[in-house]
């Protein structure tokens, strides 16, 4: 890909985002389809999020415990884990899982519709496919990611508690008190805002890749691949930017 191609792509994504904002902000709204997409994107990711978050909570706690015990600071374990999970681990794991599962799904689905002229068919019958296909998916990912992140945080902390309990048999109430006293409203608020931005980028990149898929079956594969790779890169970039911004606020 040349520099010119990259600049063209950036300009196209920009136009795509502007079109999204125009169609999302002004009626007619696609309430029913947004709810359908929320179910399909959110609810159907719950099992995977539960599994990965629980394991992440266990692994992070298990790996942190020896370092803290070296300094006699094992009691800080719930505090350390909770801050790591809420500020970074929960949003990051959830976003990466969704980039892989939801992003690829959006890219492949819209790509397949583009290749088989289904989007053109919607276009020529005047049914506003951009609003129906893109706006609904991007809204759903933007709305569902923060909810999934809250859920992932809770599950990861439960995994962490299982590990902490196995080290020192501490009670759930004590663990919960330590966790709640070490997390601030800013942590929660910034985590949710960041998650919504992650969701928006997953939705918009997946939709853009699918909507602009090349003709042919390779076009569908390429769209799914682009959706995942570009979403993952954007997630890390957004994470870095929000970290810098939050450091300034704190």
């Amino acid at each position: 890909m040349t520099i010119k191609d990259s600049l063209v792509s950036v300009a196209e994504v920009y136009t795509f985002v502007i079109k999204f904002l125009k169609e999302a902000l002004f009626p007619p709204y696609e309430g029913k389809e947004i709810v359908n997409q929320c179910y399909s994107i959110g609810f159907k990711s719950v099992f995977l999020i539960t599994f990965t978050s629980f394991l992440a909570g266990i692994v992070f706690t298990k790996q942190s415990q020896p370092s803290l015990s070296t300094f006699g600071a094992e009691s800080w374990l719930p505090s350390l884990v909770s801050q790591a999970v809420v500020r970074s681990l929960g949003p990051l794991i959830t976003a990466l899982i969704c980039a892989g599962k939801v992003g690829s799904n959006i890219g492949a689905e819209l790509g397949s519709m583009q290749v088989t002229e289904q989007i053109d068919a919607m276009e020529v019958s005047g049914t506003r496919p951009f609003s129906y296909l893109v706006v609904t998916r991007v809204m759903a990912t933007t709305l569902m990611l923060p909810i999934l992140v809250i859920y992932a945080d809770v599950v990861a902390l439960l995994g962490s508690y299982v590990m902490v309990h196995s080290f020192n048999s501490s009670s759930f109430l004590l663990f919960f008190n330590e966790v709640s006293s070490s997390i601030t409203y800013l942590d929660i608020f910034s985590s949710l805002i960041k998650s919504a931005v992650f969701g928006f980028s997953i939705g918009i990149i997946g939709s853009y890749a699918g909507y602009h898929a090349d003709k042919g079956t390779t076009g569908v594969g390429k769209a799914a691949n682009t959706a995942v790779v570009a979403s993952m890169i954007s997630i890390f970039v957004i994470d870095l930017i929000t970290l810098q911004v939050l450091n300034l606020i704190r």
Binding site: T116, E117, S125
Partner: protein
């Protein structure tokens, strides 16, 4: 028969210019360095079946995609039902698209929906019809017209190629268009199914009084469905006439079609 760039055309043209529903003048379209349409001119009249005949890759599909604003021409005028297509806003384009039915080569049925949902989709989104009994009546009437009323609850993947074409046509007819555009309606079908689709195209014209443009490279389909044929060769509308007139042509490119 005459070349269409001359002013005289010998085919049975309607004398009344008021019944012209499509007028295309000096249309040009290129993709990169490849010129696909090069100064194409055509007229379509009410209740007329106009066949655009040409080999694959000569810009036939590009021509009808320009007519509904799916592609933007590089130059030229496209007037459809009084709308100057290249200059339309998104809203105006949507308004026009409700009056023009487009049957795609690959049928383009929404594969995540059943046949019933495929037909309901434009009704709900364009006409705001959500009443179940009204939807049922419109869908079943449209499916009956194409002889597929028993397939309403099947998914597109469960249909044969000919059935998919029929559903595609039913889905466009449900909005009662004034003009039908058929992109390779018989491509990939066996000869018997092709004849059935051609008969359906004629039935649609007779029953709904639609004007149609039929894009094809199938000479038997052109014979069966056309009132008039335009031969599109190397991006130019080279010859125009009735099937019998064009059959007598000495043009080497077109002769191949009729002698094949």
């Amino acid at each position: 028969m005459a070349a269409t760039d001359s002013t005289e055309v010998s085919v049975k043209k309607r004398s009344n210019a008021d019944n012209k529903v499509v007028e295309i003048r000096h249309l040009k379209k290129s993709f990169g360095d490849r010129v696909v349409l090069d100064d194409v001119n055509l007229d379509l009249y009410e209740k007329e079946n106009l066949v655009i005949l040409g080999r694959s890759g000569t810009g036939k599909s590009v021509l009808i995609k320009c007519m509904v604003g799916l592609l933007k021409p590089d130059a030229g005028d496209i007037n459809v039902l009084g709308y100057n297509v290249p200059a339309l806003t998104a809203e105006e384009l949507n308004e026009l698209r409700l009056k023009v039915g487009f049957s795609f080569q690959g049928s383009a049925l929404y594969d995540s929906m059943t046949i019933r949902e495929n037909l309901e989709f434009p009704l709900k989104r364009n006409l705001g019809i959500y009443d179940k009994s009204e939807l049922d009546e419109l869908v079943m009437t449209s499916l009956q017209e194409v002889g597929l009323e028993k397939s309403a609850d099947l998914k597109p993947a469960e249909l044969s190629g000919g059935m998919k074409k029929r559903v595609g046509i039913a889905r466009t007819l449900i909005l009662k268009p004034k003009i039908m555009l058929y992109d390779e309606p018989t491509a990939g079908l066996d000869p018997i199914t092709s004849v059935e689709i051609n008969e359906l195209i004629l039935e649609v014209r007779d029953k709904h009084n639609t004007a149609s443009i039929i894009i094809t490279h199938d000479i038997s389909s052109a014979r069966q469905t056309s009132d008039r044929i335009i031969a599109l060769i190397n991006g130019k509308n080279k010859l125009e006439g009735t099937f019998d007139e064009l059959k007598k042509t000495d043009d080497p490119d077109l002769k191949l079609f009729f002698n094949y």
